[in-house]
Symmetry: C3
Subunit: 315 residues, 3 copies
């Protein structure tokens, strides 16, 4: 079985060694833990964003950035594909590990989760666990973790702290915008998993989403980076699962209660109480399904250029 | 002179060694022949499709996959370019070798053809032959070749059977859809060759075509994967050949007799008798020519989104 | 500090060693200087164009080529991004060194300029100078430099002539078309520098421009390759500089006096006297700015498909 930490470690090592070329800053803590700052005290950039996203996907995703267009506005898009949708997206990329140690807070994602099994239920349904003596984690945070935080991560992953590797970037940074848009395929797989669909039956995923311009603060950035997928993510999934017909109308974002406004506005109306929000909103704008056993295709949802450009600040 | 088998061998070796990351399965037969299954007993995927296509082109093509759109439907496209159109497309990628040994059948393509010279006439007109002690072949088939089949291939290529390498994928598979779309530039070069044009005068080719969703069976897949280029392949060729003016109106698919219906429908109407079909249909939807000696440009043909989406099953 | 010559040397070495795969021709002169001909006595191609452009950007840019579309015409586009806009674009890619030795003439660009400091003012404003014992230069010329020309370059860069490396391509060649389109981001950074803006505040740049079909002669090629960016270059810059608001209306090409006709026509009307032309024309068609300190976005200018297709010869 492939090890997502082993594959991601190769990508991390390149980022660590040549950090300067990525506008990133490498740190080795006293306990041997290694961290690459991709946007906290540095500017990061598109290359670091690509590398960060590939690490999130445990080395089982291909990532590229090209210039696209939404109505008359040129916007870069991230192109993502994977031939291991359940493992790469749910087993690694999903932000399923809330790292909360003393005063440090980060949304944790990446292959280290497949060692710490956070959350355990995910690894049961996808029937995957990693075994490797290095743990590679991606942290969405405004701050770098200290030695104590890395020790907690090492403990949870059952590896030596000197074998822990973290990449870190705030939501409101170029790498933040890139890596959240890079979750466009994951969002489709995640939604199907939430609906009770067996995502092991998905054999390939490909998609793209616009890279949101960077906002001034984290909450606004959380809004626009999520809107990139909610209102303009286009995904294609290939699968062996004729039962997908029963899930189709619940996949795209436009079937959720809050649909139609930028996420920040919805969040504000809910007094910034996350638990008031209809989580079914976290889906791609549109999804194409290619079901192999019947040779069928389905297309649900649609991109929404107006709300996307409004969220991004262009209109 | 460049050896297309030498260049393709490097790509094959990577695919063989890291097959699991490509959702592919490596096999070494008792006689030493090596095979990578990219879709017969496994699912393959986009990465295997890219590698398969680059092997087909003898390492002289660049291949990428990005999300595109046909009308309101998001569809992945393959992007192909080559600076050696005659050698890469006719000398390697063209499916010019029907491998028919006992009960085994496959459409053979790839650089091994430049050793076995199948068909010989092709290599005379492009004035290229390879010399190398390994043979790399791509097989479009629902089955893997056995030792006897590989020995026949070795004999035809005049190499040791232990030095034969094959990649295999059915038409009705993701790799099948990718690698047939990957022939979009080849189709333009092939058509010009069929028209009697000297393709050695073409200095560069670039193009893209949609990757057809996978159909349930091989005949339907043959239809939709060919329609990808016939109805939605866009190619640009650069050449030193003012005489191209005399060929322009015969290049694109829309000048052929059968044009206007999905290929499967045409095939069915001909009672699935291939020899009843106007072969001039096998062309890209549109071609741009940049003729260097006169600094001229020409644009012939047009994409046909309606028939493409109909063929793919969306309308 | 990163060395643009060190990074570019790696790219040059690959191009030199595998020149045949790039349709390029390597030369080693008696004095040890190395030259790769990418279009003077050979055809070059897309791969050589990518490599040439990455050398121009001192290894600090990412370059890709994909098929795009202008109105109903398929046209390849170059995709360019950099996380070091001032250094990659002004410190290396800018054609700031007129190489004029005896009868040899070339527009010089690339990292060697960061050793010879041509022009010195540029390096003062971007606060960058390279230190490296190899000099890598890109020459836009119809002819290859001889030993004497390379010695002058070595002297200006203060390196041993055996450590000088040059890539050469005419404007009217595929590599010429690719590498000039590859300046689309540079043109935006250059324009801001000309307007007195501090380009060190730009943290990332991404953009694309169509690759002009190759014209018959250099002057016409100069026109169409520049029109690619002037009339159809779309750029996004990320920066920390709220003062950008004062520069916005002067950035895009459509605010210049000559705007609206193919460059060749403007040049001809000025009796081919370069000094009669409004240099503010040398800008991208449209620019999106993401200003980080205020979390703002701006979009100025627009692509002009009609003039672009007219310049390229399609209408």
């Amino acid at each position: 079985m492939l090890s997502v930490n082993e594959l991601a470690l190769d990508i991390f090592e390149e980022l660590f060694e040549y950090a300067e070329e990525f506008n990133a800053v490498p740190h080795e803590l006293d306990n041997g833990a290694r961290i690459v700052d991709c946007g906290v005290s540095t500017t990061g950039g598109y290359r670091a964003g690509r590398q960060f996203t590939e690490i999130c996907m445990g080395g089982l995703g291909e990532v590229d950035i090209t210039m696209g267009r939404i109505k008359d506005v040129p916007i870069p898009f991230i192109e993502v594909s994977t031939d291991f949708p359940a493992i790469a997206c749910l087993g690694a990329q999903k932000a399923g590990w809330t790292v909360n140690v003393n005063k440090y807070f980060a949304m944790g994602s990446g292959p280290a989760r497949a060692l710490s099994l956070k959350p355990k239920h995910t690894y049961e349904v996808i029937e995957y666990e990693d075994e490797f003596d290095y743990a590679v984690i991606a942290l969405e945070s405004d701050h770098l973790p200290n030695a104590g935080v890395m020790e907690k991560i090492a403990d949870a992953c059952n590896v030596d702290v000197a074998n822990t590797c973290a990449v870190v970037a705030p939501t409101a940074s170029i790498v933040g915008s890139v890596q959240v848009a890079g979750r466009c395929v994951e969002t489709a797989v995640y939604k199907l998993n939430e609906l009770g669909f067996d995502t092991k039956k998905i054999t390939a995923g490909i998609g793209h989403a616009p890279i949101a311009p960077v906002k001034k603060d984290g909450t606004k950035a959380m809004g626009s980076t999520n809107d990139a997928t909610i209102y303009h993510g286009s995904i294609m999934l290939t699968m062996n699962a004729p039962e997908i017909k029963d899930y189709l109308d619940r996949i795209p974002s436009n079937t959720s209660r809050g649909y139609g406004k930028p996420f920040y506005d919805i969040f504000k109306e809910a007094n910034f109480d996350f638990y008031q929000i209809d989580t079914s909103l976290f889906s791609p704008a549109e999804v194409v399904i290619n079901e192999l056993s019947e040779g069928a295709v389905y297309h649900v949802g649609a991109v929404n250029p107006e709300v996307t450009l409004k969220s991004f600040g262009f209109i």
